[in-house]
């Protein structure tokens, strides 16, 4: 009986990298998510895309899922490390408000990838997420599958320095991790992206070149100048109440900071100060965005009365002149 099952599993074709994405898209489509496209800006994580950072604010219910290429310049290893890359892919899901069965939904999504949870050890281990640059934090877990961290699961508590009500659940799948787990390979470069094409074919050169850029070639003087320009532009746009464009510049500041960091150009003391500057921008963006949604009467509240949580939304803070 057990051998039969074993054979059955072996016979099931393991999903390749893009099939994993497709399965998740199908799954979350069925759960009523907006399937968004990746945001067209460098970000460190899916959380920073406006579809998460701005949508979790205020009372409007929302469900969204999207792939987000995430850049962490300091994680680059010139293509030489089997697990670390300066750009990886996250699959980001936001469920607002968080449903009572959110953990079960997540587990079902793993089953839809063909992962048999009776034969693999899955656990939720304490790991609280915090982003000082976004003034955001949440409570949750890292999800381990046979000892491998495959997902970050977070109940958002604050974003832009503001308490969140309702609370959103954020599920961030590490796509490369899940890929190596399913394919049982040691290196992400050995992942099959699609038939006849590997992760190495598509990404290796990029890792080599960007590692050189991030660690060696990025022009520090220029980056410092850019940071200052982006910061100024963000503030100017905030004064004009052009909140979404302002947030783009806040993201540019954040990525520029990450590049300076990977060039080793930022001392520990400076670091705290620069993070505080980006946070100030992010918090102001969040406040103004919430105010503008409120001024519009929170348009997405009405359309989804069925989804409403049954309580009065907390009255949002008033900001601005």
């Amino acid at each position: 009986m057990e051998t039969d099952q074993g054979n059955a599993e072996l016979k099931t074709k393991a999903k390749n990298f893009q099939e994993i994405i497709l399965s998740l898209q199908h799954f979350w489509n069925r759960e009523g998510c907006v399937l968004q496209q990746p945001y067209d800006h460098e970000v460190g994580a899916g959380t920073m895309a406006p579809e998460t950072f701005l949508r979790v604010l205020g009372p409007e219910p929302y469900r969204v899922a999207y792939v987000m290429p995430s850049r962490r310049p300091t994680d680059g290893r010139y293509g030489g490390n089997p697990n670390r890359v300066q750009k990886h892919y996250q699959y980001q899901v936001i469920l607002k408000p968080s449903p009572a069965d959110v953990q079960d939904l997540y587990l079902k999504s793993l089953k839809s990838l063909g992962i048999d949870l009776h034969r693999h050890d899955l656990r939720f281990e304490e790991d609280n997420w915090e982003s000082p640059t976004l003034g955001a934090w949440g409570i949750g877990w890292q999800v381990l599958l046979d000892g491998l961290e495959i997902t970050q699961f977070t109940y958002f508590q604050q974003a832009g320095g503001m308490d969140l009500n309702p609370v959103s659940a954020e599920i961030t799948y590490g796509l490369e991790r899940i890929g190596t787990f399913i394919a049982r390979v040691d290196s992400i470069y050995d992942l099959v992206w699609t038939q006849g094409v590997t992760y190495r074919d598509l990404r290796f050169q990029e890792e080599v070149e960007f590692s050189r850029y991030n660690f060696e070639a990025a022009d520090v003087t220029m980056l410092f100048k850019l940071f200052a320009l982006y910061e100024e532009e963000c503030k100017r746009l905030l004064d004009l109440q052009l909140v979404l464009p302002a947030y783009d510049y806040c993201l540019k500041c954040s990525h520029t900071f990450n590049l300076l960091d990977s060039r080793g150009a930022i001392s520990v003391t400076e670091r705290v100060g620069i993070i505080a500057r980006v946070r100030q921008l992010a918090c102001e963006v969040a406040r103004q965005h919430l105010a503008s949604r409120e001024a519009q009467g929170f348009p997405m509240l009405g359309s989804s009365a069925d989804n409403a949580t049954g309580t009065e939304p907390e009255s949002p803070r008033r900001v601005g002149p």
């Binding site: 000892g147 491998l148 508590q157 049954g310 309580t311």
Partner: protein
């Protein structure tokens, strides 16, 4: 049935392992306390927990409260009846307000006089109704270091509550909590159990959970893991490297724990075993396995939350993850060593120690300035040069890749790199041991220079933090100044260092350019507080601590020895008698004011007086010798031997004689005695119980 059993289960999403035990214990206690406020007794019989549930079982709860008799006082009797004895308006109003008949009013005597009033019987409420009220508030009253919101009602808990079982003698106690209604349905293991399990009470809950792959009792899980670890370790041909903290963690991470073994490539055995063990423990929560002569085997033991791993897929997965982790460690080990560890010194300039206290480079410089001054006191005056080398090396590992990845290995990594580079053992070992003791239960540095380095480092941190106002208050102690203070004293005790706290503080502060007497006093006060805390924590009685500390505690080791001696002598009848006589001595002297003359033998007229003087003169050199050898117990024993002589003195001699010369001479004699005692402790502070 006269008394009842209450079973409460809070079903949750995975609660952090470190919070579970306290959460469950607090829940049980909080319900018991709430019951007792409601005049209901109870007894906590079980506290069970797993990552997904907290269970409290209380028994011997009466079915209902006793009726309560309340006296309701009305107006004074004089005002309640007129001269004819007819009720006044006041009496009528009181009766009406309380809805009692006029003839039900009685006269009630109070200290202030007679009043009218009546005794009202308040029917006791059933326990069930009370529990319905108090359980939700008992749950909300639990305290946690960090909590979250998840539902619209903004309830707070460490993780969401998804079901609640509340049964009093098998019947549901109905209440709502965080949008969940209490009921009788629990839930089994996430993957191996049923979703919905009907239960009737505590035993039924435990048994139904077991059938559904949940061991609710942590002791049972711990034992199961312990047994399987042992079994799997010997299956791998070795022995378990015991790790109680890790055992506790995995006990609280699994509902149905099983142990599986795995292997790693022998090439990784080239890494120091401290690194291997840490990689496995910190990142993967694996246990290590030792072979002969304590050498590590290329193997690990992992605890999984399933019955077994019959296909071997889980083992293969863990091995893959560990391989990547060890490959990282191997990479750090080889790249870090491409730079000489001492060459990293300069990079410490950009690693902040504390905003106002500068970088780790600054810290190292201060420690270097302090070292030669302290070396003699710390017993390493002959090795100042080695101590200085160890200090220069000590913080360099903070910028290594290895420590950035495995912060728990700070110090150890620096020591290992220094060893690889061929530094002498006393130097690398000092670096290796500098963060010891890592807890109050752990060992202090085993080496002389390790102890010195560990002490100098902490002294710099404590003096620095307090001098810039980072004085720990209540639960706020972000720089763990208290722990560092405890560490200083523990090193002093364990390494038996005879030091002067005053000098330590003064010299250390000079390195900060702060020589204000206020700061020294502040730090002295702080360290004295830590000293008392440690002594109390070690179980020494208060009065011994007070008696020893009150004459001074500049030398903590000496203080400890005096406290020990006092404790040893505490039950000695002669000593206690002497202590109570000493109280008399102290009282007499304090009433008499200052007398500083030498006693004159010629002025001693009573035999009792003479024998006390002779006895004193005989003992002085012997006690001094015992003190000099820190043998305080012998010194106290010698003092205790004076008891008959002292008793006789007080029986026969009137100290406050009319004759001024005699009186002063007797006071001078007592003053000699007092000084002798006060060289060890103010034994008048000893608490003397009965039969003295």
């Amino acid at each position: 049935m006269t008394s009842s059993e209450l079973t409460v289960e809070l079903g949750t999403e995975e609660i952090p392992a470190g919070l579970l035990e306290t959460a469950a214990t607090d829940l049980a206690r909080s319900i018991a306390e709430a019951l007792s406020r409601e005049r209901l007794s109870s007894r906590v019989t079980h506290v069970w927990y797993t990552p997904r549930r907290i269970i409290a079982v209380l028994t011997d709860i009466p079915a209902r409260q006793e009726d309560l008799f309340e006296t309701i006082l009305g107006p004074p009797r004089r005002a309640a009846y007129d001269d004819e004895g007819a009720p006044t308006r006041a009496a009528l109003a009181f009766a009406e307000k309380n809805r009692v008949a006029l003839d039900a009013l009685e006269t009630i005597r109070q200290p202030k006089g007679e009043y009218v009033g009546f005794v009202r019987r308040v029917r006791g409420e059933p326990a069930r109704a009370i529990l319905q009220r108090i359980i939700p508030s008992a749950v909300s009253s639990l305290q946690f270091p960090k909590t979250m919101f998840w539902s619209p009602d903004r309830f707070r808990f460490p993780r969401p509550i998804r079901w609640v079982v509340a049964l009093l003698d098998g019947k549901v106690v109905p209440f709502g909590l965080a949008e969940v209604s209490a009921g009788r349905f629990s839930s089994g293991h996430r993957f191996l159990g049923k979703r919905r399990i009907r239960v009737d009470g505590a035993e039924s809950l435990k048994e139904r959970l077991r059938e559904n792959a949940v061991l609710a009792d942590p002791d049972e899980r711990r034992e199961r893991i312990r047994l399987q670890l042992k079994r799997e370790a010997s299956a791998l041909g070795g022995q378990l490297l015991p790790d109680d903290d890790l055992l506790e963690t995995v006990t609280n991470l699994n509902e149905w724990p099983s142990v599986i073994g795995g292997a790693f490539d022998t090439r990784f055995l080239a890494l120091p075993h401290e690194i291997l063990v840490t990689v496995m423990r910190e990142h993967q929560k694996y246990f290590s396995v030792e072979g002969e002569e304590g050498r590590l085997l290329p193997a690990f033991l992992a605890v999984i939350n399933l019955q077994d791993d019959s296909s071997g897929a889980i083992r293969a997965g863990h091995e893959r993850v560990l391989r990547a982790r060890l490959a990282d460690a191997e990479f750090f080990w080889s790249t870090d060593r491409q730079t000489k560890i001492l060459d990293l010194q300069d990079r410490l300039r950009s690693v902040l120690f504390q905003e106002k206290l500068g970088s780790y480079h600054d810290k190292t410089a201060r420690m270097l300035a302090l070292a030669p001054r302290l070396a003699d006191m710390l017993g390493c005056g002959q090795h100042t040069a080695e101590l200085e080398t160890a200090i220069r090396l000590s913080k360099c590992d903070l910028v290594t890749e290895m420590v950035k990845e495995f912060t728990d290995l700070q110090g150890i990594v620096g020591g290992l790199y220094a060893r690889e580079e061929g530094y002498p053992e006393e130097v690398w070992r000092a670096v290796y041991e500098q963060y010891q003791p890592r807890s109050m239960q752990a060992d202090s540095p085993s080496s002389l220079l390790g102890g010195a380095l560990a002490l100098i480092d902490r002294l710099d941190s404590v003096c620095g933090c307090i001098s810039v106002g980072l004085i720990p208050t209540g639960s706020r102690d972000p720089f763990a100044v208290r722990r560092q203070g405890n560490g200083i004293l523990k090193i002093i005790f364990d390494r038996r260092l005879s030091v002067s706290l005053d000098k330590l503080c003064r010299w250390s502060l000079e390195a900060f350019g702060d020589v204000s007497g206020d700061t020294v006093a502040e730090i002295r006060r702080f360290l004295e507080g830590r000293l008392r805390f440690l002594l109390e924590d070690a179980g020494y009685p208060y009065d011994c601590i007070n008696a020893a500390v009150s004459i001074g505690c500049d030398d903590p080791l000496d203080t400890l020895e005096r406290v020990r001696a006092l404790q040893a002598m505490r039950d000695h009848a002669d000593f206690l008698a002497l202590a109570s006589s000493f109280k008399r001595v102290v009282n007499i002297l304090s009433q008499a004011g200052k007398v500083r003359d030498e006693p004159q033998r010629a002025l001693m007229e009573d035999d009792a007086e003479l024998s006390l003087w002779d006895c004193y003169r005989d003992l002085v050199p012997r006690i001094a010798a015992a003190r000099a050898g820190h043998d305080y117990e012998s010194a106290l024993r010698l003092m205790a031997s004076m008891r008959p002589v002292v008793d006789r003195f007080f029986d026969r001699v009137l100290v406050m004689a009319k004759d001024e010369a005699l009186r002063n001479n007797r006071l001078a004699l007592l003053s000699c005695l007092a000084d002798m005692f006060l060289g060890i402790a103010d034994i008048s502070q000893m608490v003397i119980e009965a039969n003295t």
